[in-house]
Amino acid sequence: MAAPVPPGAPRSGANARQQPPPPNFNPNYQTNPNSLADNMQNLNLNRPFTMPNSGPRPPPFGQQPPFPQSSVSAGFPVASRSGQPPGMVGRPAVVPSGPPQSTLPANVLPGRPVGSPVSHMPPFGSGLPSASLPSSTGGAVLPSVAFPSSGVPTVSVAPPPAGSLPGSFLSSSPFTGGPAVPMSNALAGPLSNGTPAVGSGALPGPPQFPSAASVSQPPVGPPPSMMSARPPAQASAMHSVLGSSAVSSPITPPLPSASPFSAAPQSRPPPPGSPYGPQAWPMQPQQGFQPPHIPGTAHAQPSRMFGMPQQLPNQAATTISPAMGQPGAPLSGSSKIDPSQIPRPAPSATPIVYETRHGNSANPPPPATSDYIVRDAGNCSPRYVRCTLNQIPCTADLLTTSGMQLSLLVQPMALPHPSEDPIQVVDFGESGPVRCSRCKGYINPFMKFIDQGRKFICNLCGFTDDTPRDYHCNLGPDGRRRDADERPELCKGTVEFVASKEYMVRDPMPSVYFFLIDVSMNAVQTGATAAACSAISQVIADLPEGPRTLVGIATFDSTVHFYNLKRALQQPLMLIIPDIQDVYTPLETDVIVQLSECRQHLELLLENIPTMFQTSTTAESCFGAAIKAAFLAMKCTGGKLLVFQSVLPSVGTGALSSREAEGRTNISASEKEAHKLLQPADKILKTMAIEFAEYQVCVDVFLTTQSYVDIASISVIPRTTGGQVYYYYPFSAVSDPAKLYNDLRWNITRPQGFEAVMRVRCSQGIQVHDYSGNFCRRIPTDIDLPGIDCDKCILVTLKHDDKLQDGSECAFQCALLYTTVYGQRRIRVTNLSLPCTNMLSNLFRSADLDAQFANFLKQAAIEIPTAPLMQVRDQVTNLCINILLSYRKFCATVSSSGQLILPEALKLLPLYTLALIKSTGLRNDGRIDDRSFWFNYVSSLSTPLAVPLVYPRMFAIHNLNSKEGDGSILPSTIPLSSEHVSDDGIYLLENGEDVLIYFGSSVDLNIVQQLFGFTSVDEVPTQFVMQQFDNPLSKKLNDVVNVIRQQRCSYLRSKLCKKGDPSGMLFLSCMVEDKNAGGASYVEFLVHIHRQIQMKMS
């Protein structure tokens, strides 16, 4: 944060350093231990919320109870149905934990400094040696957040009293607290580490991770529930009861439960300890024992649940049992719910080692936002492909009944954790990779070799192929090929094949970067042009070296200006295309030249552009014509087109009008059709975009604006071409250039590929229904991605076309054919094979919250432009209700109709659904452009960033000094409720895109002075650049921000908010748990859902 752009080096370093230490535990996380309880979280609405508190307690079990509130709540009958620990919270933790992800150092300012950037680039690009990867990517790893539901420690523990299930679950009621805790801790710990790791990884030190990880984990011992019993293990989550139970019980239970379970788990996964240790999250290093409880719970539950017996654990049903349970009592009821007891995300702990398969079956992945290190054991890393359900329903009916959706979130180039093994590259020579002759699926670990290895059966279509002669190998006694372990394609879920000639319609394209800068009057005067030029100028150093890197540049206002950068010329030659209705390229060659040929001219030019147009009085901007012209210049190669646009495109091809203003002046008429403003104004840009995609031109648009620019229309171009929209509104020449530079730098240096084609193949019985994301589709089966990078995620919805066999596995294979920045043609193949099930309960237990929510989010985003907001919100709510209803109806043992019971795995779904409804995209009061940007942003948003977008993390930063010694840089997160925001505090809230810093009205001025250099709150400006002052507090704050940046792979735009100011309102609108104009409070929402379910039940 410190300086925007400055000397980067330090910063990365700094981060790294700091993080390392705590590898295993972050302070925060550790604190969590309490929260650990997560596993079983039952929430008692009544209960007070523990989250924050949880932090402190180290001990696994003890956690919750402490709270007074809990006691209060206790009264409630609520039952935590699942015996498990009441904490509904379970999974949720993920979100908060988010931190772990490391981020890309690159983004961070520091990036500049040599170190980081370099490292990043190479690895990926090259694709080659993985080695480099770690370092480079470093940033990106996503920490898996608390896999377990840690966060919520909360839960309450609704102990036994509730009586609901007490008996049944051993662990459950009593422990809620207890068990939960452990889990969470485990996770948390790792996570936290993870984060750091990431950070470090990126920069300095990959090494740390490993070590850290290993270290921490081993100890753990505990059976990672997950690991061991796939089914059972996961149970960790369990149901939590909202109910009252929580309170009292907590304490005691833990212990008991712990022991029993512990045992169980261990058995499964053998020794959680050393061998596996790493992998599993199991580990909560600290509390070894606790985890166990989970398993136990699982067992217990079985009986109750519907179809799913044992596995219940996972499915924790949680619930709300609020008192309100009673049908009658609506509001009043709600009032009784203790907000502190309801499910909330819990922070994660240290990094987890996650093995993708265990035994011979798929291992459910840790939460997307947690910090985890993947060991590829046949299934791909969940970073690449994550399924909404980790068990596949055998029939369409079963899926329909569950109310859930089956889809894959595919992020084929996702950044791995620095400690993970690099993807191995396999070269089959001229013949290319072995493929099924019928479905063309690529060879993978799930292809079954028979007949002494002479034939193999395709796991996707079932066809029996002959093994190519030179690929033949005998089978071992276990029926596997003897060379299976030596051949990455036979033992790894993700491999890259070197593409042979037949995969190329032409030579792999060079890396082409074309910069297009708005120089209309507004752009120049607001400093946007200067910012863009400066960013480009700095980023040139980060472009891949070598003759394959080509660069071009053009500017535009009411005409398009190309520049001939050929070195032979004494100075650049400016070529103006004045015909903006029907553009063309001014030169066939020399507009795009080798970087080495034009570096000096380019630098000179970038320096001159802002002054050259200083006196321009051209207000018009011909965006459409400019990109078309640039496209024509790039047409023969394809490449990346980076456009910096500052005003509404008003002239030339694809000119747009100020629809927003028209809409405003004509409110009554437009009210019904308001969403039409979110659709592209016409088809011109779309047609253009398709043509761009056809010629492999990927467009990224940086909108540095202070007015309406019709993102709805403009965004069609990046969406269709695999690009992205960056939005700086209102653009500030003071604070935004740093972000612009960092965004641009990450855009160029992140792992990415060009001219890509992607297809997902599924086992017989399942087929791809649709793809959504940023790409162009010309034929139904494939998607064309002129550009694909590590941040882009594609939602692949699936449908049944047949029944699947219970007990069999259903395979998914995503093949991405692409060209690396170094000009190699590669096929990245990621495989995921998941068990099929006939049991509804299994579905709920294996549901992946992050994927489910990402699916929700993306579907909502798709709806936004086509339906009235009201309707979209209702749809989202209904989706949530239907899932919970299904669970309630078919899986939950109902002890009291007054309880709201949530599946453990999905217990945070209501909270996220509420957050989604209140998000920028679904709110009524947003600006059109904000909403357009939002749903475009969402369309390619990666899974780990989905939740934070709607449910940001909030930290208190006025008391950074007070936490000492826990090793974690990030303070603990605070629920998004204004109750938790005090007037004398300063809070930092981040959603992966923006950072809001909020000043209460009675802040300690001394702290303000130390952190920001203001002597009073009144001095707080709206635009600002974070600086590092010479005091520990400021340093800490900078460290915190840098960690977050690394985790999010984003520089994050900072805004300062003051209470009582419009900016303060902005901040408060992020308090999604509050009741506000956007909707109900969290508690009210739960009540609403509960009532709906009850109505439908009856």
Binding site: Q571, M574, P578
Partner: protein
């Protein structure tokens, strides 16, 4: 050769007529065969022409200017217009007029006077000085070497320009580049696509010279100095002194067109777009001021409007044969395009000069309309490195005596006596469509008017005006018939210094009643002018009339002429004689029939167009040389003397100098060549031989010096391959058919063409047929 004898046949008026005595009636006129026509060099300089610092008096009704032929009543202070007989009062400032105090224009010898006009005669200081404007339009689709030649020619030209001349630069290849010379930060170029036609409005719009940049009153620019800075002109047009450095460095960096040329294809060259962009630029910047587009073209237009041939090399550029068969897919479209370009340029008053240098055709035939209508210069050469281009181009910008005297924005008005009708004008001008009683129904050339625009004109510009007589039977009119007819030519123009001038030439000729006697008519016949006019009319017809058989038409007319004016007994060819006034005419016709103007199939359409444009704009003397070259023989025994244009003139010990206008051939007889090769001229004792060798060279240089375009100089030896340039022009009196009759040392021509002798025999036979 008669023209050599009379060095100034045009006199002060620079007017020559086919008939210096006019028949009274239309019927009689038509019997004269050779049309009534006058050629005028409107601004030819002559030492005797006075320049008057005031405006002429104009007749109230016919607007003719007061002239020496007006009858003046000194007491009543009245003058009577010789054209319409209107009585006009002298204005007050002529109050001093008397028989002994005549204004200059009334002096009988000053039939031509020139008025220097200023917008405000009382305050000449405020008169705007119009700096000339030059927009160079440079083709870049050529090999580096050629581009090098043309660049150095351009640099030289820019150095020669007056410092205040405004210069603009457009280069083109596949696309047209307008260079913004006034942009100091870096080289800045507006790129127009070659494949798309752009209207003037679009050009303005796209160059950022839209509405605000347009002067409201085109044709009447005012406040130029401060006016144009607002319009953006100074972005593109800079005084030569200011932009010379910029332009030179720009030229240094200019390379051949960057767009790749595929194998087997021509370079894409958007000549049409480049020219219309240049025209648009000028239209915006300097409406109404004198401006020239100087186009330097190195190949055919293959892209966009004006395309003359496809880019596929396997398709040759159209030939006359293709034109004849109408197998020219691009021709009409291109001509139409250039026609509209010509209209635009004329309305703006701007000139298109064309310098085409290429081995193949570049489309001069299509562009002819635009060049000719605007009065532009045209030079066709094989290479930009060839002296024909280099020296011509340099001439264009030279100052002083060598100056071409390039003037702008000329208009020609003609007043003539009643009953005289103007059919039209052949030459570098455009009809202004100004109708009047003197406009004939039939049109030849630029007609339907009594006023013409000459956007560009120079000292040598010559126009041919074709007249008709009114069909009413004049002899029936009551005896008031005036025995004299009058013609008045008023030419206003901006001279190179930017001053506005008006030249008034009034001529008178006599009517005769040819029905009574043709003797007077015969005496008034100007053979040379008649030959040239016939050549121009025939060329015109060949272009305008489909399937026109020029040779036959010429033959028929010649026969009719001989029948009417010859002395003979019917059906007795041997009795045929012609009055000396006609004696040369048949030979002119013989050579015209064989010339490149009629025998087009030996030339490309571009060459033909080029020749005709020059035929139409040169004065009678030069045009006559084009038709019938002059031949001078140099030998030891005599002074240089004219020789017969006959193969018989070739002799081993003679040097011949042939001037066919477009080329000058120095032909060494075999013996001379041998001596020269042996180096005798370098030996002191053979001084005479050296002088003999030098004499034709010196004469050739004299001819070349005065001529624009610079002719091609061919130095050749008898039997050498280059000798064809001579042989082609000679009368084939000796061919392989009668070679055995030839004397030693002479030569034969391998042709089946008829010789002059045979031609005459047939003519005599046919002329006397009843």
């Amino acid at each position: 050769m008669s023209e050599m004898a009379n060095t100034d046949p045009e006199g002060i008026d620079a007017v020559r007529m086919t008939w210096n005595v006019w028949p009274r009636t239309k019927v009689e006129a038509s019997k004269c065969v050779v049309p009534l026509a006058a050629t005028i060099s409107p601004i030819r300089s002559h030492p005797d022409i006075p320049t008057l610092p005031y405006a002429p008096l104009r007749c109230r009704t016919c607007t003719a200017a007061l002239n020496a032929f007006a009858r003046v009543d000194f007491t009543a202070k009245i003058w009577i217009c010789p054209f319409c007989y209107q009585r006009n009062h002298f204005p007050p400032h002529y109050a001093m007029i008397s028989e002994t105090n005549l204004p200059c224009e009334l002096y009988p010898q000053y039939t031509t006077v020139q008025y220097a006009l200023y917008p405000d005669p009382n305050n000449p200081a405020s008169a705007p000085q119009f700096p000339p404007v030059f927009v160079f339009v440079l083709d870049t689709c050529m090999i580096e070497e050629e581009l090098g030649f043309v660049k150095s020619a351009m640099k030289q030209a820019i150095g020669l320009l007056p410092e205040n001349a405004l210069v603009g630069f457009v280069s083109f290849g596949t696309q047209a580049h307008v260079h913004e010379l006034g942009f100091s930060d870096m080289s800045k170029v507006y790129v127009f696509r070659g494949s798309k036609e752009v209207s003037k409005e679009q050009v303005l719009e796209q160059l950022g010279l839209g509405a605000s940049g347009r002067r409201p009153t085109p044709g009447h620019p005012k406040g130029l100095q401060n006016g144009y800075t607002d319009t953006g002109v100074n972005r593109f047009l800079l005084p030569a002194a200011d932009c010379e450095f910029t332009l030179n460095s720009l030229l240094d960096e200019l390379h051949t067109d960057q767009w790749p040329v595929k194998a087997g294809q021509r370079a894409l060259r958007c000549t049409g777009v480049a020219l219309s962009v240049a025209a648009g630029l000028l239209g915006a910047c300097m409406p109404g001021t004198g401006a020239r587009i100087v186009a330097l073209v190195g190949g055919p237009c293959t892209e966009g409007p004006g395309t003359i041939v496809s880019e596929d090399l396997s398709e040759p550029v159209r030939s006359h044969k293709d034109l004849d068969k109408d197998a020219v897919p691009y021709f009409k479209k291109a001509v139409k395009f250039y026609d509209s370009l010509a209209k635009q340029l004329v309305s703006q008053g701007h000139v298109l000069d064309l310098f085409a240098s290429a081995l193949d055709q570049v489309g001069v035939a299509e562009m002819k309309v635009a060049v000719e209508r605007t009065g532009g210069l045209v030079v066709l050469a094989e290479s930009f490195g060839h002296p024909v281009f280099k020296d011509s181009f340099k001439r264009m910008f030279e100052d002083g005596e060598q100056s071409l005297g390039l003037c702008f924005n000329g208009t020609l008005e003609i007043n003539c006596s009643k009953d005289i009708k103007i059919q039209g004008v052949i030459g570098p001008c455009t009809s202004l469509e100004k109708k009047g009683p003197n406009v004939a129904d039939t049109v030849i050339g630029e007609g339907n008017t009594t006023a013409w625009k000459m956007c560009g004109l120079d000292k040598s510009t010559c126009l041919t005006v074709l007249f008709d007589l009114s069909s009413s039977d004049r002899s029936n009119a009551p005896g008031v018939a005036n025995p004299q007819l009058y013609l008045q030519f008023l030419t206003s123009y901006q001279d190179p210094d930017g001053k506005t001038m008006l030249r008034v030439t009034t001529v008178t000729r006599q009517w005769v009643d040819s029905a009574v006697s043709s003797e007077e008519l015969i005496q008034g016949f100007d053979q040379e002018t008649a030959a040239v006019v016939m050549a121009r009319v025939t060329s015109q017809k060949m272009e305008m009339e489909e399937g026109f058989d020029a040779t036959r038409w010429l033959d028929r007319n010649l026969i009719r002429l001989c029948s009417k004016f010859g002395d003979y007994r019917k059906d007795d060819p041997s009795s045929f004689t012609l009055n000396p006034c006609f004696s040369l005419f048949p030979q002119f016709m013989f050579n015209l029939r064989r010339s490149q103007f009629m025998q087009v199939f030996n030339n490309s359409p571009d060459e033909t167009a080029y020749f005709r444009m020059l035929l139409n704009r040169e004065n009678i003397t030069n045009a006559a040389v084009m038709i019938q070259p002059s031949l001078i023989a140099y030998s030891f025994n005599s002074l240089p003397q004219p020789a017969l244009l006959d193969v018989a003139s070739i002799s081993a010990d003679r040097i011949l100098l042939l001037d066919s206008y477009f080329s000058i051939v120095i032909f060494h007889g075999m013996t001379i060549a041998q001596w020269r090769n042996m180096g005798y001229q370098n030996q002191p004792e053979h001084q005479a031989f050296a002088q003999l060798l030098q004499a034709p060279q010196t004469d050739a240089q004299m001819i070349i010096r005065d001529r624009f375009p610079v002719p091609r100089l061919v130095v050749c030896d008898q039997h050498g391959s280059q000798a064809r340039f001579l042989l082609a022009k000679l009368n084939p009196s000796a061919t392989y058919n009668n070679a055995n009759e030839m004397a030693a040392g002479s030569d034969v021509i391998f042709t089946d063409d008829v010789s002059l002798q045979v031609f005459f025999e047939h003519l005599q036979k046919l002329a006397v047929q009843s």
